[in-house]
Subunit: 303 residues, 2 copies
């Protein structure tokens, strides 16, 4: 049977086109990754790559300068000034966040100096769509925002009527904690989402990046027993050995990683492979996906 | 100023009605719980309450007999036969699931006997809406299903056209693992969701209950290093001391818990308090909520 006859029959009979014996089944994610080319991957810039060093290992974070430029500049400056070194994880809340900073932050006399850096910054909850990085929109909608998808590897939401776009609180996203005032944050306190996406935090707090590897060093930490998961005793806090930008670390000590691009046809195939699961285990391929269930793969760089 | 004049001014000036000094602001969740009465809470039936006993403590699970009656009957029988005692957590996958069962399950000669119980059951992926427990529908829609909400404290989805309803894969839900065939599960392998809701598993696998307390004993476990988070070595597995139904445990050793009812006006107020966050920290109350972000509170019973 030739192809146009097959298509005509499909249209006539309503058969799924995937049932044609002369066509390969739709690719799974493993197939998409296997077929990917070097151009489908990118290396995060060292100045956008942050290493959180804990006793158990390294957490690698990619910063989102296009969405929170002032906060990212501040975090770079604080890291370079070794502001974070010796501070601690002070909060681990089940199904919510891990948070670190200066345990003495509330005490103006004891807290660590931010040096030349301001202690707080204006909020960067959202930015204009105009001039924003390429946006790969998801097809299946969202409970919280008019549009969702990915920009530069980050999960993002958009409101075309308002002309704004913002990073979304998915698992593994990094944010800058604040007090009640919008401009009371500034990168001295940071948190990572370790539970179901708390999307109600979107546009309430400035997100600044995403964990690429090492989530398990945060997600497995003992939960804090005080309100909101704060640790009650100083000895329960987890010390931060150091936070460094990759470009401040000797080349031999860097984590050489590649991130799957989200502005490619290959990424569209990956999303489709997750919207419709074709692995043998899946009996119902689902046909839909929500923003925070889309994986953006990370792998060791191949030199 | 009298009330009608105030209302007139509000209409005229477009002031938010919550700014009226003569009306209390909408309640927060803390307010809703504070104002709740004993009738807003229920005690899970002991025969629906499962204790998973680990070295670090107890995980309390409520079984969903209305949604998976055969699987729940099987799990009760296996627990009463002490089938699970001495088995192990064999898989801990980051941002996904913790799974336990018989490490020798694949070896027909070495695996533990299920006694009089069948090893596998027909799938219970969904059930008819007709005869299902009361459904409290959420207002804001869902990416995966036509309708979502809560029944008997469990997150559920519904398809009115198909006339079916099913438990949804939110954080803390308990499911019965299976192999590729729909009827290859049966309660000998169980898993709990420890990450962002993997809703693509809905209607692909039988859910059987929800963790009420003790999630941290599962979510903080070291991740397995083999594919899909399986542990590579036997010594990495986490032993299961016992799994018991509460009605098989002496009364003094039971966990006396109460769960917030989901078929009440108080629950509607709780949902509204989470759709529109009024705590001082929130600058944008959000106005929407997704299924798996709705908390169903659990507290120690007050005797």
């Amino acid at each position: 049977m030739n192809r146009s006859l097959a298509v005509a029959l499909v249209l006539l009979l309503g058969l799924p086109t995937t049932a044609r014996a002369d066509e390969a089944p739709p690719p799974t994610m493993a197939d998409v990754l296997e077929a990917s080319t070097p151009a489908d991957w990118r290396r995060p810039a060292p100045e956008d790559t942050l290493y959180l060093e804990l006793a158990t290992g390294r957490v690698v974070i990619e910063l989102a300068a296009a969405f929170a430029p002032k906060h990212v500049a501040q975090i770079r400056a604080l890291a370079n000034a070794k502001y974070y070194d010796g501070l601690a994880i002070v909060r681990v809340q089940e199904n919510y966040v891990v948070q670190w900073g200066d345990p003495d932050a509330a005490d103006a006399e004891k807290r660590r100096s931010t040096g030349d850096q301001p202690r707080t910054l204006a909020a960067e909850f959202a930015r204009p769509i105009e001039g924003a990085p390429a946006f790969a929109r998801l097809a299946d909608g969202d409970v919280y925002a008019p549009e969702v998808g990915h920009s530069q590897g980050f999960p993002v939401a958009r409101d075309p009527k308002q002309g704004t776009t913002w990073l979304a609180h998915c698992y593994g996203m990094l944010g800058a904690g604040r007090d009640d005032a919008a401009d009371s944050g500034g990168g001295t306190e940071l948190y990572v989402v370790i539970g179901h996406a708390p999307r109600h935090l979107d546009r309430n707090v400035t997100l600044v990046g995403r964990v690429l590897t090492g989530m398990e060093h945060l997600s497995t930490l003992p939960r804090g027993s005080a309100a909101m998961g704060f640790h009650e005793k100083a000895e329960q806090r987890v010390p931060i050995r150091a936070i460094r930008l990759a470009n401040e670390v000797p080349a031999a000590e860097r984590s050489a990683l590649e991130v799957f691009r989200t502005d490619t046809a290959a990424f569209q195939r990956l999303v489709e492979s997750r919207r419709n699961r074709r692995e043998p285990w899946f009996l119902d391929p689902t046909g839909r996906i929500d923003l925070c269930n889309v994986p953006v793969p990370v792998r060791a760089a191949k030199d």
